[in-house]
């Protein structure tokens, strides 16, 4: 496959070394996923649950392509960091507003790598006794998985690279890129490239 150079997107483009998925490729795959999900969840009025903030674009596009009754809700979680680790175990910063007992839950993720966060969240949701709990992920990094988690719907398997765009960030930047690309190593290291 030939390397796709990033199209112009203002001051963000120079930091991208390569486009992995164009906006058109992403939209086409989201439509396919929506069709699969619709077939599975027709007449079940599922609750689509996402984790802020990375899932923002995927959730919006997926919902708009879903021709069935569905609800949406969001969680926010404090990931491991120097600030949060002093407070012990991982915790929800924002919980669901929807009671999910007896409901069909589709957990929608932008990207899954180690599975550590997702494993915690699924255990938390499972304890609330939903009728079903499945996972839909747009970008799956299987090579990085530490915790085995069954994934019902997968958009793309992607290589082990630091990717940004379509909701994915690096230090809160690049989420608004319409495509997904890999960052230049010099951007990650903060040191000028050679």
């Amino acid at each position: 496959m030939s390397r796709i150079l990033p199209p112009d997107f203002g001051e963000l483009s120079p930091d991208i070394s390569e486009v992995l998925f164009t906006a058109e490729q992403i939209q086409a795959r989201v439509l396919n996923l929506a069709a699969e999900i619709s077939a599975e969840y027709r007449d079940k009025n599922p609750v689509l649950v996402g984790v802020l903030k990375g899932v923002l674009f995927f959730m919006a596009d997926l919902l708009q392509a879903l021709p069935i009754a569905a609800e949406v809700d969001f969680l926010s979680v404090a990931n491991y960091s120097n600030e949060s680790r002093s407070q012990g175990l991982v915790r929800l910063v924002k919980d669901l507003e929807t009671p999910i007992e007896g409901r069909h839950i589709l957990f929608v993720e932008d990207v899954i790598d180690t599975g550590l966060t997702l494993n915690y969240l699924l255990r938390t949701l499972q304890a609330r006794q939903p009728a079903s709990l499945e996972v839909c992920v747009l970008f799956n990094k299987p090579d990085k998985r530490l915790i085995d988690i069954p994934l019902r719907f997968i958009g793309f398997d992607i290589p082990d690279r630091f990717v940004v765009g379509y909701g994915l960030d690096f230090r809160e930047k690049y989420r608004n890129l319409p495509y997904v690309g890999s960052l230049k190593p010099s951007v990650i290291s903060g040191k000028p490239g050679k």
């Binding site: 990931n79 491991y80 960091s81 120097n82 600030e83 949060s84 680790r85 012990g88 175990l89 991982v90 790598d113 180690t114 550590l116 966060t117 494993n119 915690y120 255990r123 990085k144 530490l146 915790i147 085995d148 082990d160 690279r161 630091f162 690096f170 190593p185 990650i188 290291s189 040191k191 050679k194």
Partner: protein, 127 residues
């Protein structure tokens, strides 16, 4: 594995300790260096080479080995991983390489911890 007075393991380095803290944070059970796998014995049955993976995750039945070696220095560890797969095909083991560890630390905003494994070579991808 040896334990300190407070019962915590003596980790081989700061990356192992940080990794253990991340697992703790996400509620994942782990054991540090619980098992040594013989890799080579001589004609008299004496152990010549063995391998002790850094972590074992009981719920996943998965061993994890961390390496912060630069790719061109990691051949020795890669060879041991190949031997492990040949001799113990039923044992699940994953090698987390320098770049993977770096990306994980960056993802969690641990820039200071990532700095020692930020070398240029670590970021260059193999073709």
């Amino acid at each position: 594995m040896s334990n300190s007075e407070n019962g915590k393991p003596h980790f081989a380095g700061p990356v192992e300790e940080t990794f253990a803290k991340i697992l703790d944070y996400y509620g994942i059970d782990w054991v540090y260096e619980p098992r040594t796998f013989p890799l080579e014995v001589d004609a008299n049955g004496n152990l010549i080479e063995a391998f002790t993976p850094d972590f074992y995750l009981p719920q996943q039945d998965l061993y994890i080995e961390l390496t912060t070696l630069r790719p061109h220095l990691a051949r020795y560890k890669n060879r041991r991983m190949r031997l492990m797969q040949q001799l113990y095909p039923d044992v699940k083991i994953k090698l987390l390489k320098r770049r993977e560890l770096r990306d994980m630390l960056i993802k969690y905003g641990l820039m200071q911890e990532a700095e020692p494994i930020q070398g240029t070579q670590a970021q260059l991808r193999e073709p």
